[in-house]
């Protein structure tokens, strides 16, 4: 049995920041266990920026402005005390990153450069060209090497263990050997990222953003929060869901339907293509629903009228992206796009210190939900969230580990997990992982996507139950233990099916429209009945059980959210 004082699951920004924070006490054993090598985590994909009211560009910016923007952006579902902590501490963590060597772009005076971002009243997104997540992730990893953080790379967590009150540890499989281990830990921090992949190919997320930590916590009886809120981005590439950034529309790109019509004139005649993200996503989706899509259910982002020179000069990276990932040169033809699931606002319920309902178990980052994003995350706030709450979780896990002893644990869970895997490996015939995954992604995109309504959600819930039944018959064809990636996928699919159900049930129950959650049959926000967090636990019948808890409002009374 492996033993750590603190075990951090996940090595994205949240996990690494937590690790650095908890490494400060040299005598404690800290381990970071991760499905992929640390620098491969999805934090690296973030391009735009990280918000902090440094006031380097606009001297009038304050953290209070940032606070208000965050609450408003969340459609008033964020807890205002949490948002306050995040925005107030933001300048400090961004400076700490920069003191550790993070190469942010510079202003003329040599300070950290900032740019404007959607939903922000002042330009406060700190950036590094178009690679801010990448450089942040590498900086944290580098400092992790410097401070001797212990990494368990290419290990996948299977189960979370506690005695009903206190943390015991986890079980995990070492992918390189195929062996299941029990890992005892005083504290565990779950920082496993989001679950955009429940939309399978209709997401901007990495292949492994399958919500493992969230699903594992849910199965271990911990409440998960606000899961129905998923942010969509209007312009993902047709084949892969990879984002084509707003820059293309900013530069004058048109959105066309399959008939070649510039359809935004129907929905936002003034702003046209530059309307807010959610409106543009819904408009694209309406075109598809009303039968005006291209041959493969796509719409188009057309740059051809900008001309070769302008594209080469102003949008070279977007052009390269389209050629490399979609095989389409935007100089010559319109780019096929679809709205794509981008960010998971919901996650494991935690308090302001990142602690869950079980002592010693913490969650942070996209896997957790404090909540600071409420019904809709502002661009640039999630990289901030992972730093602030990764750090807090690390700090408190450290304190907890220092003041508590190990909780006894046996190998019962390890045996159960080993048995579960063995039975999936036995025999040959059964349902295929790829088929179930594709069906799940399609039905989530169609029925639990940009638009939702009671009837579709009801049928989504029952179709998902069918898929869960089918999953029970899945058999792994690959019988080799070492580096069995088919097994990795099967375990991920199991997690996604559980979370997809929670998302669909939450969306079915929430009979209002708020932030990213749009109900065609309940188009208005309803503060009287729904200004509340959705708390889901696993019911005794194996189905999600919903409760609702109040939103913390300290400063800003809910108002209409208009921009």
């Amino acid at each position: 049995m492996l033993t750590y004082d603190i075990l951090i699951v996940g090595s994205g920004g949240a996990g690494l920041y937590a690790a650095l924070e908890s490494r400060m006490e040299e005598d404690l054993q800290v381990g970071v266990l991760t499905k992929v090598y640390p620098t491969r985590s999805h934090t690296g994909a973030a391009q735009g920026g990280v918000n902090a009211a440094l006031a380097n560009l606009d001297p009038t910016d304050t953290w209070q402005d940032h606070w208000f923007d965050t609450v408003k952006g969340s459609d008033y579902l964020a807890d205002q005390d949490a948002a306050e902590i995040m925005t107030r501490e933001a300048p400090m963590v961004v400076r700490e990153m920069e003191h550790w060597g993070c190469p942010f772009s510079r202003t003329d005076e040599g300070k950290i450069a900032q740019r404007p971002f959607g939903g922000a009243s002042k330009p406060r997104a700190c950036f590094s060209a178009d690679k801010v997540g990448h450089v942040m992730l590498h900086t944290l990893y580098e400092q992790g090497i410097r401070h001797g953080v212990n990494f368990l790379n290419e290990w996948q967590v299977l189960s979370l263990m506690h005695d009903g009150r206190r943390c015991q540890g986890v079980t995990a499989i070492n992918t390189q050997t195929g062996r299941v281990h029990t890992i005892q830990a005083k504290s565990v921090i779950l920082a496993t990222g989001g679950h955009g992949r429940i939309y399978w190919t209709r997401t901007s997320n990495a292949l492994g953003n399958t919500g493992d930590g969230t699903a594992i916590a849910y199965r271990a009886g911990l409440p998960i929060k606000d899961m129905e809120f998923i942010q969509f981005h209007p312009t993902g590439l047709r084949r892969t869901g990879i984002l084509v950034s707003e820059g293309a529309r900013g530069e004058g790109g048109y959105l066309l339907n399959g008939l070649g019509e510039r359809f935004m004139s129907r929905y936002a005649p003034e702003k046209m293509e530059l309307g807010p993200r959610d409106l543009v996503s819904r408009s694209c989706e309406t075109e598809v629903r009303e039968g005006r899509a291209g041959p493969e259910g796509e719409v188009f982002l057309d740059l051809t009228h900008l001309g070769r020179e302008r594209i080469l000069e102003r949008l070279p990276q977007i052009r390269e992206l389209c050629i490399e990932f979609e095989g389409v040169d935007p100089i010559e033809e319109p780019i096929p796009i679809k709205p794509t699931a981008h960010y998971s606002m919901g996650g494991i319920h935690t308090d302001l210190n990142g602690q869950t309902s079980i002592e010693g178990i913490y969650a942070a980052g996209e896997a957790g939900c404090v909540s600071v994003h409420g019904a809709n995350r502002l661009g640039g706030n999630s990289l901030l969230d992972i730093l602030i709450f990764g750090r807090r979780a690390g700090k408190h896990a450290l304190e907890y580990a220092r003041n508590n002893s190990f909780t006894p644990v046996d190998t019962g869970q390890e045996e159960a997990d080993t048995q579960m895997i063995a039975s999936m490996m036995e025999g040959d015939s059964g349902a295929s992982i790829a088929d179930i995954r594709r069906a799940m992604g399609n039905l989530m995109a169609e029925k639990v996507g940009v638009y939702r309504n009671g009837k579709d959600l009801e049928s989504a819930v029952s179709e998902l139950a069918d898929l869960q039944e089918q999953f029970k018959t899945v058999r792994i064809q690959d019988k080799t233990k070492a580096f069995n990636t088919e097994l990795v996928s099967a375990l991920e699919l199991k997690n996604m099916l559980d979370l997809a159900e929670v998302v669909a049930v939450g969306a079915r129950e929430r009979k209002e429209s708020r932030g990213a959650h749009t109900r065609e049959d309940h188009p208005e926000r309803d503060d009287k009945n729904w200004l509340a967090h959705t708390m889901t636990t696993l019911g005794d019948d194996g189905r999600p059980k919903l409760d609702f808890s109040p939103v913390t409002i300290t400063e800003f009374e809910p108002k209409a959210r208009t921009y």
């Binding site: 580098e142 292949l207 990636t485």
Partner: protein, 336 residues
């Protein structure tokens, strides 16, 4: 007056030849052939995933971000290291005018299974290079109330290197690693230079020592790392600059001193560095392997390798070259 959009999509039935190997089951690597309908837009990674989903679920490869930022998916396609996720198949099939393409794991690292290699040795080398910033207190304030000030120009000295995604393509292609497995490799030296060129850092000395100990002077300057890098971080250039730094700093009493001396000695003697011979001067007979590897590479590309050094007579021309080099390097530093 809009016009219906009909995208043009081609498709070819292609033969994808993939190297397979499971150490616990096979004595040596072998090839499997898969027939795949390749269409416009399909990347190498999509083809691999399609094969895994529909033909052979045991096919093993790494991939995560599928968007050229995580560095998981590097493989060799028709011999060249590339990222599977950002490489289109159709143009390769069309260019080679064949309906077949081969996919192999990266070189210079042990294969764990099929297309998956063990990158642990590379990570270990990297870790020994002090690949992190150590605060230079003249530039980095003690408190988090203040930022450190770094000009755009100072930032641009190393910014392009921070694009590196640790994909290992350069390591796979490197002639020096091929010849001497203990050589640190392009990406690790690139990372070392990135920090040593950062004005906010205070650890240049130790890092330089680590770089020299791990083969800063063994690089054959064949520039293959530059050719294959998907992020254009130009490791060979970093290595040159790091070498220059080491001479400027004057590393004495180290394994690197011979290298530094050979370098400056050559400049004085010939007016130019005898670059092709450096590995031998430095490593003794072992260095020949690096030279041969580099030679073969050059020959393959129709370039005649040389061990001759052109000499320019007279002190003054040497001085001119020195000056010119300094000037060029000063310019190069500003390039991003």
């Amino acid at each position: 007056m809009s016009e219906k959009i009909t995208p043009v999509r081609k498709s070819i039935l292609a033969n994808i030849r993939i190297q397979r190997f499971t150490p616990s089951e096979h004595k040596s690597a072998y090839f499997d052939n898969f027939k795949v309908k390749v269409e416009t837009g399909m990347t190498v990674l999509e083809a691999l995933r399609l094969i895994k989903n529909t033909q052979d679920s045991s096919l093993t490869f790494r991939a995560f971000c599928r968007s050229k930022i995580c560095g998981s998916c590097a493989v060799r396609v028709n011999g060249k290291p590339v990222l599977a996720c950002s490489t289109q198949l159709m143009p390769i099939l069309e260019d080679f005018k064949k309906d077949s393409v081969s996919i192999k794991p990266l070189k210079n690292m042990p294969v764990l299974r099929d297309l998956v290699v063990d990158i642990e040795p590379v990570i270990e080398k990297l870790s020994k290079m002090h690949p992190y910033l150590m605060e230079n207190r003249e530039r980095i304030p003690e408190t988090l109330e203040q930022e450190s000030i770094m000009s755009k120009q100072e930032h641009s000295r190393f910014d392009y290197i921070t694009d590196c995604i640790l994909c290992g393509s350069c390591y796979s292609a490197c002639s020096a690693v091929d010849a001497d497995p203990s050589y640190a490799g392009p990406l690790t030296l690139g990372k070392a230079y990135r920090f040593s060129a950062d004005v906010r850092d205070s650890f240049q000395g130790e890092r330089m020592q680590a770089a020299v100990d791990q083969g800063l002077w063994s690089c054959a300057q064949c520039r293959k790392c530059i050719n294959v890098c998907p992020k254009d971080t130009r490791p060979a250039v970093s290595i040159q600059r790091m070498r220059k730094m080491s001479i400027d700093d004057g590393i004495h009493d180290t394994a690197g001193s011979r290298r530094a001396k050979a370098y400056t000695g050559d400049v004085a003697k010939y007016g130019q560095v005898n670059k092709p011979m450096l590995p031998v001067i430095v490593n003794g007979p072992k260095g020949w392997a690096a030279i041969e590897a580099a030679d073969n590479y050059l020959k393959k590309h129709g370039i005649e390798p040389t061990r001759q050094v052109c000499t320019l007579g007279g002190q003054s021309s040497t001085q001119k070259i020195y000056d010119k080099v300094k000037e060029l390097e000063a310019k190069g530093e500003n390039k991003t």
